[in-house]
Subunit: 274 residues, 3 copies
């Protein structure tokens, strides 16, 4: 399928996405979901999540500022979403940086078959191996996916996809999107995306909408979302004027998603099957 | 009274507004309150809300990401605000979408006489009738206020105003602002306002400041706030450049409010008594 | 030391800062930390804060939307950070406006030696004297630091610095930065900074990164951060175009920080030893 079609399908169906996410980047997650053609709803109250998940098509669980209440809500919402066959995404923010984050992410993966797990390389390593050099919420340089280790990292991604039965999206300077048998590398994006908060969280929210609108092909949907986010970063970069800095850049990413159509995404997507 | 005067009264008195609101749009609520000339303060801790409400002039209760703690805080703050005769606004975000939201909003309405209740048509229907087709936090198309059903919806708004003894503000493509005997239709705004998160929450925060600064005329104050928000959306739209998208649009709405004076509001307000 | 060097040291070392902060301005705090060259991480779950604080170099405690859970987290994180010798900053948002805020801030100061305490004059007065005219989260006009009372306020700041063994940063139209023996006045900034939410919270986050990167000279680090924030406000002001308002201004402050280097800060900083 044409990569742009995945986006067109989002705009055609307005998928409703339930987000249990952190309070740092939640506003951006809501806005990028609207910008790509989805519809966001947020709740992390255990007594509220079953009803809200029930009216949605997808569940985006992001552990960025997890707490006991929201963890309880993640499991309740997860059980309901799983029972309804919803698209489910896990963003294990900071896995490897604290026991609570690592263990919560592992318990979630043990209890639910996520459609997609999206994180940076250090977070994904922490979940796969139990040991990692995570530096807070940013990936460790030592872990980074590079041209030199691309095939080894792709093999890792496919193995973790096989283990979890999920599409694995590992984002960084080079992004990897894999299922058990295939791994794509994506070379969209710009270095400046690492200098603003929330581009990963935004991608997870948007990706959930892509998964809902393209239930038959989660690998393609995840790949298309990764390309769309990176392309938006490139478009934003191309519009920077003298004096513009991080905050303007951040706004322009959401601007670019709101203006992107399938044809633009198809032309701009830079991916290859490894 | 001139519609613009309601805004001038806000800027002249800097009303302090206590907001118990959701963490998705809270930043925008704070900024629009400052932009219109008010002063925001947020707290949802039961042990903190009495003191904070006491130093304010108005209380804005928004149930967008309610939880057990914040619900408790809503009732404690509500009792204190009611005892002090403060302006009180309820924004029943997602009423109709979950039992907890619908029941919490109904309990709040049962316990307190709100100065104003502001929501989309599906949320207000859920509170009036107990049954609705709410689709998440967005209004259902089937419920929408249109030119064809305008008088019937106005009658509904007046009846709910009579039932609750509150001014009812129902916002959408056409907005309705009613008390028990009069209903205004407002035709400010642009369709793009539905594509960003938080324009409703922002309006509720700003409206509370208008209610505090114009205690003698809540119907006029709510009407003026609705006109101001819609006019800001039009001004923002008029400033969009090629390449600008949702995030720039969102910023420009707050920009427009921060620059708006009473004379501009008076000239731009588009309302009629039905 | 050259004032600009403090900023250069942040960019050279990417200090990781743990923030327990309010959900109103948390997104701006994360972004300004990234913009100045630091790296933010947020968590307020008692079971998560020890691990997260352990991998950081500094702890920024902001009581803006404190609750029982986050208060518990503040003390747990504080004990761990203190035991590790981390830079610790307290931003007592709304101290004086509620008993819970005043008492929590006082308990934190009693339990921990903060590297720096940063607030507006009303908040700092509330902590020093137990009585204040705090108006919500904004400083009372009656308390304001002016040219007429500058020396008296400087003496107060030095006395409170001696009492707490912390650097005291009091921000407003004129900022004061003091230790027990020296007090600087800073005259950077513009009045418009008071019309947006979060410039104080942003400064506290950024200042913590300056403190981590310049452990040997907290007074200079706090002074440099205050100058940087005010200078960013001036740069943002200079870029305002017709039709630009509060939200654009807010974005341009973070833009300016992201583009600022030590030489620019050194040239633009306006401070004097009183």
């Amino acid at each position: 399928m044409n990569i742009g079609t995945y986006l067109d399908n989002v705009r055609a169906t307005t998928p409703l996405v339930h987000n249990i996410t952190n309070y740092v980047t939640v506003h951006d997650v809501a806005n990028i979901l609207l910008a790509c053609g989805g519809s966001p709803i947020m709740t992390d109250e255990p007594d509220d999540v079953e009803d809200i998940t029930s009216i949605c098509g997808g569940l985006n669980i992001n552990i960025g500022t997890l707490n006991k209440r929201s963890i309880e809500a993640m499991f309740i919402a997860g059980r309901k979403a799983a029972s309804l066959g919803h698209a489910m995404l896990l963003d294990p923010v900071g896995a490897g940086a604290s026991r609570l984050r690592t263990e919560t992410a592992k318990r979630l993966i043990a209890d639910f078959r996520f459609t997609t797990i999206r994180g940076n390389i250090s977070e994904i390593l922490a979940l796969a191996s139990g040991g990692s050099s995570t530096r807070g919420v940013d990936a460790s340089l030592a872990d980074a996916v590079t041209e030199a280790n691309l095939q080894a990292k792709a093999d890792f991604a496919k193995a973790f996809a096989a283990e979890t039965d999920a599409v694995i999206a590992i984002t960084g300077a080079i992004d990897l999107v894999a299922d058990a048998t295939r791994c794509y590398a994506v070379r969209n994006g710009t270095p400046r995306m690492a200098s603003i908060t929330g581009s990963g969280c935004q991608l997870s929210g948007m990706m959930t909408a892509f998964l809902v609108a393209n239930r038959e092909s989660p690998l393609g949907a995840a790949l298309a979302a990764v390309c769309a986010m990176g392309l938006a970063g490139e478009i934003a970069e191309s519009r920077m004027q003298p004096g513009d800095g991080n905050s303007t850049y951040s706004d322009r990413i959401i601007d670019a998603i709101s203006l992107m159509d399938g044809a633009t995404l198809e032309r701009g997507a830079k991916y290859e099957l490894l």
